[in-house]
Symmetry: C2
Subunit: 210 residues, 2 copies
Amino acid sequence: MATTTSGTRRRVGKPRGSYAKTDEKRRAILDAALEVFAQSGYRSGSIRDIAERVGMSEAGLLHHFPNKSTLLAAVLERRDDRAVQFIPLDENFGGRSTVNGLLELASYNASEPGVVELYCTLSAEGTSPDHPAHQYFIDRYEWSRGMIERAFTIIQAEGDLRPGVTPASAAARTLAMMDGLQVQWLLDRDVLDMTEELRNFFRTIVSYEL
Amino acid sequence: MATTTSGTRRRVGKPRGSYAKTDEKRRAILDAALEVFAQSGYRSGSIRDIAERVGMSEAGLLHHFPNKSTLLAAVLERRDDRAVQFIPLDENFGGRSTVNGLLELASYNASEPGVVELYCTLSAEGTSPDHPAHQYFIDRYEWSRGMIERAFTIIQAEGDLRPGVTPASAAARTLAMMDGLQVQWLLDRDVLDMTEELRNFFRTIVSYEL
């Protein structure tokens, strides 16, 4: 880890202070980009608007992220890093732990409406084959379905999946439920509790106490 | 009905032929608007692009729909008229009939990817309070949840709702499931069958054979 950092330093050849500043600026740009993409979508969201929010020129911003799609990729990657805190990538993470992790993720999402809005808007836009995040979303859903399917397969082996439920179908429906609840919650935050409804959903899939 | 038609004719004072032509143009504009809004969203979708698709000038289009939000409202209204074929508005429509109607609606949607894309993109964009369709979506979800809740209440009275399931929660989750399945289906049409997964979902909610 230390080697990588010093390696990077050597390659770019700037003193430490500049790095801290650069990192800070990058973070500020990504925060602003998240807000703009969440509100206006990727297509309508403008680099100029993002630059203005952090008090930079467009050229200044493009020094950090050479184009809009690089910026989008960085926003998505940063958000995924946070989500993975709740669902470790470990293959042997376990069935019940994954279900619990998804419930914790839903609670965390409820504290970050901007991020939920970003995902909701971008995943809808991203269904178009010509959208720069199209492949990202295809891969992300495939990966997530696989991960959740493995969890339900473990739960099934433990005898805790309800009769007639298959792990693959339960996985696709879990993602659908999480996505769909977000739309209703964004429209009216008092109308439903995302975590509670996801728990209600899981109760119809698994037979252990939840 | 005849009175209304002749009344309208007198008011505008044009012969029958012009009417048919006007209707045809309006329909062509709405088809083009649906495509453009579905692909680019409402915010990025341009009147000019819509006009070009039907071989009109922007001014010509604005003669039929005075602005972009009127056009959006007309596109949404037209789509709702079609959806209501599957779920009659009659309060006494019945529990099982509503569930069957929603399954038929899911099948119909699978034959109209453009319409699904429109709803998916617009409902995501429309979660922003400043979006022209924001109130439309709030009202639409409230109405739909109420209608589905009534259906599940009837099913419950018939003893066919699974233990622990409440009609209100089941209604919110039904809409969430339909919306969420659409995102995954739009990303990859071979990955899941929306009607089949909706049926799998209903099977965990109701106890009668489905």
